[in-house]
Amino acid sequence: MSQNQGNIIQLEEGWNDVIKKGAIDVLEKTLDDGFDTSFEPKEYIRIYTTCYDMCTQRSPYNWSRDLYTRHGETIETYLRNTVLPALQDKTGQGGTILLNELKHRWSNHQIMNKWLKKFFTYLDRYYVKHHSLPTLEQAGLQHFKTEIYQNSKENSTSAIIALIDEEREGEIIDKTLVKSIVELYESMGMGSLDSYTNDLEQPLLESTRAYYGRKREDWIAKDSTPDYLIKAEKALGEEKTRVVEYLNPATEPKIRKVVEDEILQKVQMNLLEKEGSGCSVLLANDKTEDLQRMFQLFSRLDDGLQPVANIVEKFITAQGTACVDKRQARLDSGEKDKNDDPEFVKSLIDLHEKYLGVIRETFANHHLFGKALKNSFEEIVNSDVGQYSNAELMSTFCDRILKSGGEKLSETEVEQSLDRIVQLFSFLTDKDMFAEIYRNQLAKRLLNQRSASEDAEKAMIGKLKLQCGTQFTSKMEGMLNDLAVGSEQKSEFDQRLAQQGDAKGLSFGVQVLTIGNWPSYKAPEVAIPPQMSKCMDVFKEWHDAKHQKRRLTWVHSLGNATVRATYGKKSYDLQVTTLQAVVLNAFNDGKTYGFTELKEKLNLDDITLKPLMHSLSCGKHKIILKSPASNKIASTDSFSPNAKFTSNMRKLRIPVASVDASHNKNRVEEDRSVAIEAAIVRIMKARKTLGHQQLVAEVLSQLAFFKPQPRVIKKRIEALIDREYLERSSENTQQYNYLA
């Protein structure tokens, strides 16, 4: 039927004859029957045109308002009369059935909404806009919400939750169904997620919490920590998948939080401390996988890792303390207390390496665990037992590696060992003490040519420099430098000596040491035989010409010499110290000398001469005869050369007990006093006035290589008050002022 110009369509006529009969009834029937809904194009145009006409007719025949209203009513009626009863019928028959029905009805509604919108489209274009009304689609949706959704949402939510719980228990459920219903909830929000959030998500979160609360109680009672964590990991994984499969993504973080809270947060300490399977047990048994899982799970929680790190710290400290206790036990059982305990040092190194690895592999190098390792080693490394500090033991450990004839290690092994000892060193509080001892041992190695490799020495110093800065290693570097300069200039001097000719066939070398770099040595003014002093003069002349501003002091306590001892046809080469050589030279005339006589002749004191005489007359090779013969040197003894001396070997070394200036504790103390005072003055100069507490705190933070007691710092402050660098504030007894 085509539009007849001037033929007005009446409301009821148009509605009943065309729209209702042709569209709505047809629509409802196909929905009920379950067949696909479709309209022939001709039919569709007819209905559409009728609507169009009815909406464009001039007033009072413009039926826009009525059509709009009836559109709504149609839907409303259909929902109320057809859909709702059907749903109510299915309620009580089990969740899945209800849900399926709901899904069906929702699907139908969407179809209906679509077609009605198509037919009444013209309303959307003008009437709706003009009157700021909900669009046809929105209106339809709203009706569904009011009539159907509000009435069934509780039941459908329960149904869904029940299904989810079933799935959690391992049952298979119809995920597609749930997904469709979820989409319904989403749509009911009409632009926002509110309906979904309030009507489905919220109850779901509550039930999830209850569900996992029960599970937790169940598991925690029966399962070991690793087993529990496996279950927890699985549960978290499942929930995440669930959201992806049929829930709205916004739910993911919320549900995750609930589950983490219930199964991890609430029992964290319980799990960590569980007897027989808690964190420390896992550490003790190197259960890497379980610990990794633990780490990953607890890192989800706010501040979840700190408690784990605390346990790790305690555990490592206990392991380290066990090493220290072992050392103590060995000493207690009578082992000699010396400054060398490689077993102990190695045990600490191994411990550190092991847990460095654990932190890397198991705890993903997380900073909290790095800190735990550091804290525990700071405690371990500074626990000294016995007479010798760990600083000294560690330095001697290095000495073993660096001296020739020490540990037999390949180049890479040396590098690795040094690296590791420096790592241990970084935990030492008294680093300056280590430096002092190390320097002394380095000097010994260098001066006695006992250093295995100059490269290794340089490498070690380089590592210390990296740790502590240039100032820390400047003296050590100075020592190496002195030797380098010495060997450079050696050939130049050798030439000069050869030119002199006067040297009576003595080959002679000098090592110049820069005083500040080396430990302090005694320089006895021994009476030097003329042949030797001639060489010394040549050197001094040559040296002074080269360096006018330098003053040389001969340190005869340090040198070495080779003495050719000739007995008739046989002769021997004796490797001795300079002082021993001077003593031997005194016996060249074959005479007998008393101890006191020798003392005077050579200008040496008891402390120096006694060990020398001992080495020559009481040792393995008795070059000199002592009377009376005994193992101790008395000032009443007399000595004569042993004309009957023989030996199988041609080259002999005559060792002498060194009267060591072993590391000078006083020196370190003095340096510390100076460092503390310098820090105080620096700080006060900048701040002008400062309270006591703050001053002490700032001083401590400025001192890198040792940590003084507060009383020690106070004494230094008092000393500075006395020397008028500071004064006490007249207003506040606890405050200091800087005096310019």
């Binding site: 106070k714 006395d722 007894t733």
Partner: protein, 254 residues
């Protein structure tokens, strides 16, 4: 100046030994002794020449500009004061302003002091005696006097005092209620019995701090609140407090 009898007082009194040249002192005429000090004060209300004359009698033979302990002792005799026991001697010297060198008073100081205190005769000095009680001083004045006690008793250019002297001095100038007698006794006891060699000599800082400390922590009860970790007091004080704590514990053990 302290009450203990000792063998040679020389270390305390500085250069002069008590037996030297008391009889053979030349007393030249005032005019040649006075290095033009006459016009020091514009409108002087004392008899300056009399004050000068007094000083002439006290000053050193070879140094007319200063009077040392020998001269001071002479003055004390005239005033009937015991320089070894009587704190008023120190108060007098403090009031006169004998600050420049320990164990001495300079002529200028004497003259300025006499002017300030209106003294030009022995009788006037005697009249001053009652006012020399330390009880009259307020806290600030006493602190200044207390510091003077230390400074005046040093030997020559030394900056510290021997422990024994310190104990005697403390007892002399702090008697009279400035601090509790318990505090004074226990502290002196602590000083005397401590084996720490570092406390053989006491510094000015330690001396002054003791007084300030006693003001802030007057009695045993107050000591309970003492916290070494927070204190800026000298280590000597920390150790005293520790000592008192240990005494207390020993007492309880009984």
């Amino acid at each position: 100046m302290a009450g203990k009898k000792r063998k040679a007082d020389t270390k305390m009194w500085g250069s002069a030994s008590p037996s030297s040249s008391s009889g053979s002192r030349r007393k030249p005429s005032s005019s040649s002794r006075r290095p033009g000090s006459g016009g020091g004060y514009a409108a002087s209300t004392i008899d300056e020449s009399a004050a000068e004359a007094m000083f002439d009698a006290l000053c050193e033979e070879d140094n007319p500009g200063a009077a040392n302990m020998e001269g001071i002792c002479q003055l004390c005799e005239q005033l009937d004061l015991d320089p070894l026991e009587d704190v008023r001697v120190l108060v007098l010297l403090w009031k006169l302003g004998a600050n420049k060198k320990p164990a001495e008073i300079q002529r200028e100081e004497w003259m300025a002091g006499c002017n300030k205190l209106q003294l030009d005769s022995i009788d006037k000095f005697k009249g001053l005696l009652p006012g020399l009680d330390t009880g009259f001083m307020d806290r600030e004045e006493f602190s200044d006097f207390y510091k003077f006690c230390f400074q005046f008793n040093r030997a020559g250019t030394h900056k510290t005092l021997e422990k024994d002297l310190v104990v005697a001095l403390l007892k002399m100038c702090l008697a009279g209620g400035r601090i509790t007698s318990h505090r004074l006794e226990t502290f002196c006891g602590f000083l005397e019995t401590t084996k720490d060699e570092g406390y053989g000599k006491i510094t000015l800082d330690q001396w002054r701090s003791f007084l300030d400390f006693s003001y802030e922590y007057p009695d045993a009860k107050a000591l309970e609140a003492y916290d070494e970790g927070e204190s800026a007091w000298p280590v000597l004080i920390d150790e005293y407090v520790e000592h008192m704590e240990n005494q207390g514990k020993k007492g309880r053990k009984k």
